[in-house]
């Protein structure tokens, strides 16, 4: 079961392979007349310490690096809150089509009708899936979508003369850190709302927190506890009655695709993570892709350009919108990610779309049921697309923490689940299997966790030492901060020119 330690050597830094005079690409050769660079440009740069390696060396370097990195195609990735589903390979092929990849974002609209049509169709499908009347694809990531929604809420209140007086955003204590951070970035103060003993939003606390200084509530549904908020319609009514807006954090949309729509729940706006729900690759931490949906009353404030259908059904760009919050990114959002998401959406289509949420929820409940004797759920309810378990009893009785259990999973060949989130669950282990994993994989994973929980009792040192199967063990993060070393430096640094004061 336990993998033998890999005989993999840490790859050298590319700079250590460098030898004067090598080049790793056949770069275009000029066929225009020679020029004197100093005449053309003025004073030239003297030193440039970039590596000099051959083309094969470059490929071997990155192949070696890939061997010490884990992706979905390597194995199961049960990271709660991250929706690490299969990223279909056909998406890469369509995004690579020259008619998409070779477009300049500032070329005239009449030369890119296919691209605009694609953007429009993605918007239309996302409107239907989310239950909102308008979608924009401008935001570049989930947190960027949150920020954009908050800007829309701010613009809405300003349009009603309440911009200055409504300066508070309510955020549940279970929320992702991006929620309060986005609120702060949008100039708001943050007020925390507690979760009740059943795992739902505390309605009494919400009622107390709602006054006329509140601009909006940011609510994740299903919550980060993996639970659907059963009072969602009532919550939206309460917030609206107080004159505020409700934003849905769409991080957990995978539980709802084709089964229920946030727009129908009463939300005013939401963001969608196309890199989670709609399978665009995470790429090691980006690009994200954060479409947002809004109800009609927020439409006047949407960022420019707005992609819409004109009278003849052709798609046009609307840049002249007097109430718009402006531009939130340079062009049309993460276009090639939209191509991938569109490809994915059409692969499911009307017939299969709800299979996504149905199997995501099935897999999560299955894992929760299989692990209930060793790692109980934080709340005894059906979960949605992910389950939040607690390892608190191992900490109390055996000195083993959730992190130790997770690190031991690496030695069993699995990526760890999310730990210590949401913050309100002690020793949280958050597992999101997604719909694309087989029963066999889930069984192997659960078997490993059950075995590890046995080790936690009998041989806790195995967990404390884990992982031992990789080229590095647990790394000293405190030392990393204390002795900050964030770049390679050439042995001969160029002389730093003294600054004019």
């Amino acid at each position: 079961m336990i993998q033998t330690p890999k005989l993999v050597k840490r790859p050298d830094l590319i700079f250590d392979l460098s030898r004067e005079g090598r080049v790793g690409a056949n770069v275009p050769v000029a066929d225009t007349p020679e020029v004197d660079l100093t005449t053309e440009l003025g004073e030239l740069r003297k030193e440039l310490h970039l590596p000099e390696v051959g083309e094969l060396d470059v490929l071997r370097h990155f192949t070696a690096l890939s061997h010490v990195n884990y992706g979905i195609e390597t194995g199961f990735y049960p990271l709660g809150s991250c929706t690490m589903k299969y990223n279909p390979r056909i998406n890469e092929r369509t995004a690579g089509l020259a008619g998409f990849a070779g477009l300049h974002p500032m070329q005239p609209a009449d030369t890119v009708p296919g691209a605009l049509e694609l953007l429009m169709r993605v918007q239309e499908i996302l409107c239907e899936l989310s239950g909102f009347e308008y979608v924009t694809l401008q935001p570049l990531a989930g947190a960027h979508g949150e920020l954009t929604c908050l800007m829309l809420i701010r613009a809405y209140h300003e349009s009603r003369g309440e911009g200055a007086s409504r300066n508070v955003i309510l955020v549940p204590d279970s929320a992702h850190g991006t929620n309060p951070a986005s609120a702060a970035r949008c100039g708001y103060q943050v007020r925390s709302i507690p979760t009740d003993s059943a795992g739902n939003t505390d309605l009494d606390a919400l009622a107390k927190g709602l006054d006329d200084s509140v601009a909006g509530l940011m609510l994740t549904n299903p919550s980060t506890l993996g639970l659907f908020e059963p009072n969602i319609a009532k919550i939206c009514e309460m917030v609206h009655a107080a004159g505020a807006q409700v934003f849905c954090d769409g991080a957990n949309m995978n539980a709802m695709v084709g089964t229920t729509r946030p727009g129908d729940h009463g939300f005013d706006c939401m963001h969608l993570n196309l890199h989670k729900t709609f399978s665009t690759p995470h790429g090691g931490g980006g690009p994200g892709c954060g479409a947002i949906g809004v109800k009609a009353h927020l439409e006047p404030f949407l960022p420019v350009p707005v992609v819409r259908r004109g009278v003849s059904q052709s798609v046009e760009l609307d840049e002249h919108r007097p109430h718009s919050i402006g531009r939130v990114s340079a062009y049309y959002g993460q276009f090639l990610m939209e191509v991938r998401a569109y490809t994915y959406l059409l692969a499911y289509g009307k017939e299969y779309m709800s299979d996504i949420s149905r199997h995501a929820v099935l897999n999560a409940n299955y894992v929760m049921a299989r692990l209930k004797d060793v790692l109980p759920a934080a709340f005894d309810r059906p979960c949605m697309h992910e389950c939040v378990l607690t390892a608190e009893h191992y900490k109390k009785e055996h000195g083993v923490r959730a992190l130790d259990i997770s690190k031991r999973l690496i030695d069993y060949g699995f990526h760890p689940p999310t730990n210590y989130f949401p913050l309100i669950v002690h020793e949280a282990i958050m597992i999101e299997p997604t719909e694309t994993e087989t029963k066999q994989t889930l069984d192997a994973f659960c078997d490993a966790l059950i075995a590890i929980c046995g080790e936690a009792v009998a041989h806790p040192h195995l967990l404390h030492q884990a992982p031992t199967s990789q080229i590095v063990g647990r790394l000293d993060e405190t030392a990393a901060v204390k002795n900050l070393d964030v770049r390679w430096r050439p042995s001969v640094m160029p002389p730093k020119v003294e600054a004019g004061k």
Partner: protein, 443 residues
């Protein structure tokens, strides 16, 4: 549906283990009036893989891409050479399908590549350090302005009119909710005039080379910024750094840029990758991720995401930014690009660009255009035409040439001006064909 591997037997056994008889029962906490029957939404029909490819190909072929139009349009996004190695590396599943490297033991490959990326960007810009990348150049510039406000507490951002108009629009959007004022510095002859900077300046934002391709005088920018006691922010084209003196040599505090020219497809403007570098004294204020080198319990070297207490998942509303992604995959493209080209390859790209630009300026002026600005340029220049630039652009598209960016929509009095970019991928015969076509259009 190939992406969902469950058999009927799997579902049956799993439901039995859970202790329910149908999947619907698992959704019982969703109020019934909010639940939809499977298949009830108004969506397009599912397509198999073969039909999908045909459909997407048809959509893509309705566009006039850089294979159909010879691209002389730049303005911040460039049709540059991308070595085949970039695609080969990016398509590896270990990179493409990885999550953020929060588990360093399983992410040493990505973490080391980011460390190398930070090293390369620091070196390119002549700065102490760089982060793991930002969404795009425009948001990186806006984040730099907000960071400057955090450094000195002042609230007026001075931005050159010769900074990319879209970048300035994003800056305006970011500054509005946090009450930062944005003031424009004029660039009457294509070069920024700094005389309007006052003592309230939080930051001075300059582009280098600027939106018109003009190589700004960073000494003048630095001196004016220092006189005002403001933070000096430069938005710099990374390719130009192969030949121009980097902003670090001019005492820049923060340097940002768009990394797309280094191995990333134009892609209708996304995904891109923002570059962000600064002086080491500001490292704790930097937005986004940073990777650092450390050791494990046995002294083996390894890499981790560091200075994590700046970030949103730990600091929540007190974080330096709400950002929780970088553009890791695109940053990887830049890393492969810079390591493959290296010092010699990048210099060749820059020099070829200069030769092509210089040649294009000559033949286009001979064909009836006039150079708008007298200053030195890198890679791009503005020409004035005897008629509206949009009309010229339209006619040249019918001749297979994407002539550049008409500046009328962005700058007053420039209806007849066209911004022309000439990268290393253009050939002499393509440039000659442009000049010939322009001559015919103007005749």
């Amino acid at each position: 549906m190939a992406y969902i591997p469950h058999t009927k037997a799997d579902r049956r056994e799993m439901l039995a283990t859970i202790g329910v008889s149908t999947i619907d029962e698992l959704f019982r906490e969703i109020p019934a009036n909010l639940r939809l029957a499977p298949g009830s939404l108004d969506l397009p029909p599912a397509l198999d893989e073969s039909r999908l490819l045909t459909h997407l190909r048809e959509l893509s072929e309705r566009n006039l891409d850089s294979g159909k139009l010879t691209c002389f349009l730049g303005a911040g996004i460039y049709d540059r050479f991308v070595p085949a190695t970039v695609g080969a590396v990016l398509s590896r599943g270990e990179f493409l399908t990885a999550y953020t490297p929060y588990q360093p033991e399983l992410s040493q490959g990505y973490l080391q590549s980011i460390f190398e990326f930070q090293s390369l960007i620091s070196e390119l810009y002549g700065m102490d350090l760089a982060n793991a990348s930002m969404y795009d150049g425009a948001t990186a510039l806006a984040e730099a302005a907000i960071m400057a406000h955090g450094i000195n507490g002042r609230s007026t951002i001075y931005v050159s009119e010769a900074v990319h108009p879209h970048f300035r629009q994003v800056l305006d959007t970011y500054c509005w909710p946090v009450d930062l004022k944005v003031r424009l510095l004029p660039a009457p002859e294509g070069r920024t005039d700094y005389s309007a900077i006052e003592g309230d300046a939080a930051a001075v934002l300059v582009q280098y080379p600027n939106f018109f391709g003009v190589i700004e005088n960073l000494e003048a920018a630095r001196d004016a910024t220092r006189r005002a006691g403001a933070t000096f922010v430069v938005c710099a084209d990374p390719i130009a750094m192969a030949v121009l003196r980097p902003p670090g040599e001019f005492d820049a505090d923060i340097v940002v840029g768009e990394g797309q020219p280094m191995g990333v497809a134009m892609g209708f403007g996304g995904p891109l990758v923002g570059l962000f570098a600064c002086k080491s004294e500001y490292v704790r204020r930097i937005p986004g991720r940073i990777v650092g080198r450390t050791t494990d319990g046995h002294g083996a070297p390894g890499y981790v995401m560091t200075l994590r207490t700046r970030e949103q998942d730990i600091r929540r509303e007190k974080a330096t930014s709400n950002i929780c992604t970088n553009e890791a995959l695109m940053a990887l493209a830049c890393t492969v690009y810079l390591e493959a080209l290296g010092k010699n390859g990048l210099r060749q790209v820059a020099e070829t660009t200069v030769r092509n630009t210089s040649y294009a300026a000559k033949v286009l002026t001979a064909a009836g255009a006039k150079l708008r600005f007298a200053d030195r340029v890198f890679g791009e220049f503005v020409i004035d035409l005897p008629i509206d630039a949009r009309a010229v652009q339209k006619k040249l598209i019918t001749k297979g040439i994407l002539a550049g960016l008409p500046l009328g929509p962005y700058y007053k009095g420039m209806d007849q001006s066209l911004l022309v970019a000439v990268t290393e991928t253009r050939t002499r015969s393509e440039i000659d064909a442009y000049a010939q076509a322009l001559k015919e259009v103007l005749a």
